[in-house]
């Protein structure tokens, strides 16, 4: 998981998640405030630069993380490029959409600016800190509990899945598409069984430490949280102002 890797290794790892969340929110708002493709592209550029130069996220990793979303963008843009209507005989008629270029430019620049804001947040902030932030934002505890457990068990189960896939491959379980689907069915069923067993074990382990309700943990303390949050708020406002000013 590349995002996870960067989230723990970047230069702003120890900055308060509230500050980073604030800046990302600023980026998202700015992306939507920007009315012209140029403005949105400008926002995208500033946010990407902040991520790469400020937080020192590796550009190569950044491109790889952004690739799937940009693929979605490309495919969707394709459908915006053409217009379809019925001709006289009732058959479908393809043509270049008249406003295709400007529509695509608007959507693509806004999407890229928003994506940049999302990537800024996730590439600089481990999920664990984001959960802390959500806790501060008073997200219902049920959801936070599920997130905490999901985060930890994600790694445990994906290791189990990886090991099982390897073990199946060692016995040629993926020799043909048909055998492969069969093997994957067995694998998923085994994981389902593990879901119960592991949940049971975790519940028992929590009980052994007197935990039988909502899961409570000590939140990490972030140095200079207030200062960083103020700086981030100012940067966000500047970003939104930039988006507005590039409009005209």
């Amino acid at each position: 998981m590349l995002i996870e890797q960067s989230a723990y290794a970047n230069r702003w790892r120890a900055v308060s998640p509230a500050a980073k969340g604030g800046f990302a929110l600023g980026g998202l708002l700015a992306a939507f405030v920007a009315n012209t493709p140029t403005a949105a592209a400008g926002i995208a550029l500033v946010v990407v630069a902040t991520t790469l130069l400020g937080a020192r996220v590796s550009p190569w990793l950044y491109l790889r993380v952004a690739a799937p979303a940009t693929a979605f963008l490309a495919v969707s843009s394709l459908s915006l490029m053409f217009s379809i209507s019925l001709d006289a005989s009732g058959g479908p008629q393809w043509q270049f959409a008249p406003d295709a270029v400007s529509r695509i430019a608007t959507v693509a620049s806004r999407s890229l600016a928003s994506l940049a804001a999302l990537l800024f947040l996730v590439l600089t902030t481990p999920l664990r800190d984001l959960i802390v932030l959500l806790r501060q934002l008073r997200v219902p505890e049920v959801i936070l509990d599920l997130m905490v457990l999901c985060y930890r068990m994600l790694f445990v189960l994906s290791e189990a899945m990886h090991d099982m896939l390897t073990a199946q491959a060692a016995r040629l379980g993926h020799a043909s598409a048909r055998r492969s689907l069969h093997s994957l069915g067995l694998l998923a069923a085994n994981l389902v069984v593990q879901v119960w067993q592991r949940a049971q074990a975790l519940a028992t382990a929590a009980l052994a430490r007197n935990g039988c309700g909502s899961l409570r943990f000590l939140s990490p303390a972030f140095a200079h949280a207030r200062r960083d949050t103020l700086i981030a708020a100012a940067a966000s406002l500047a970003l939104i102002a930039l988006a507005g000013s590039l409009d005209r």
């Binding site: 995002i3 379809i84 999920l127 905490v148 119960w196």
Partner: protein
């Protein structure tokens, strides 16, 4: 298929978030009530969310040769019931946005609606209906997972078409375009996911019928109905 960050115009992003909100609130309440009764299920749902996430990373062999990933929502709805699956689906989508940059925060509402809400309810509803019509367990499971997937894909296409109507053909033409473009990956995926889910349920039943009886499965409740 999740809509990427920032792709929907602001009014659509807000609109779908508002549309999903009541379902999420309802699911939070349902899960809380369930946890009051069975506190140990807190862990179960957390691990289930991790399971759905891990499953979505699985590469399925696909009919068209393109690789596809299962959503796991159909299987989840059959195992845990649609009420819990809305919340689990929400967590899964949040994680996909935050750990994989797949989907996004502004489009979270739209994605939750198409996958966690429509996907879970269609899967659970189709399963109930198929069992009522006395279809075999395998057929019912296949239809549930497959149609759950298709419903998600159709809903996403509707969301996109509504946001970007075709300048000439309007909503319908746009719907045809989006649905057509994504059909290439989504229809084979729905079929493969249906088959996979049948294999999983079959394997589960063979593992141990005894133990399955003790599990609070939507599936077995459905089977009895």
């Amino acid at each position: 298929m999740h809509i990427m960050e920032g792709f929907l115009p602001v009014e659509h992003a807000v609109g779908w978030t508002l549309a999903s909100a009541p379902f999420v609130v309802w699911s939070v309440r349902a899960v809380r009530a369930r946890l009051d009764e069975y506190p140990e299920q807190r862990m179960l749902l957390g691990v289930a969310a991790a399971f759905a996430l891990v499953l979505s990373a699985l590469k399925l062999p696909s009919v068209t040769g393109s690789c596809s990933h299962p959503t796991g929502i159909g299987l989840g709805a059959l195992l845990f019931g649609p009420a819990a699956m809305v919340l689990v689906g929400l967590v899964v989508l949040v994680f996909q946005a935050l750990l994989l940059a797949h989907g996004g925060l502004t489009t979270l509402g739209a994605n939750v609606f198409s996958m966690a809400i429509v996907g879970s309810f269609v899967a659970a509803g189709v399963f109930r209906a198929s069992r009522t019509f006395r279809l075999s367990l395998a057929t019912s499971v296949f239809l549930a997972a497959c149609l759950g997937d298709l419903a998600t894909y159709v809903t996403t296409s509707v969301q996109l078409a509504w946001a970007f109507p075709d300048p000439a053909g309007g909503f319908v033409a746009s719907m045809a375009k989006f649905a057509g473009i994504f059909a290439l990956t989504q229809i084979p995926l729905a079929i493969t996911e249906g088959l996979l889910t049948v294999l999983v349920v079959n394997a589960l039943i063979r593992f141990n019928a005894d133990e399955m009886k003790h599990l609070p499965l939507f599936l077995t409740r459905g089977a009895r109905a």
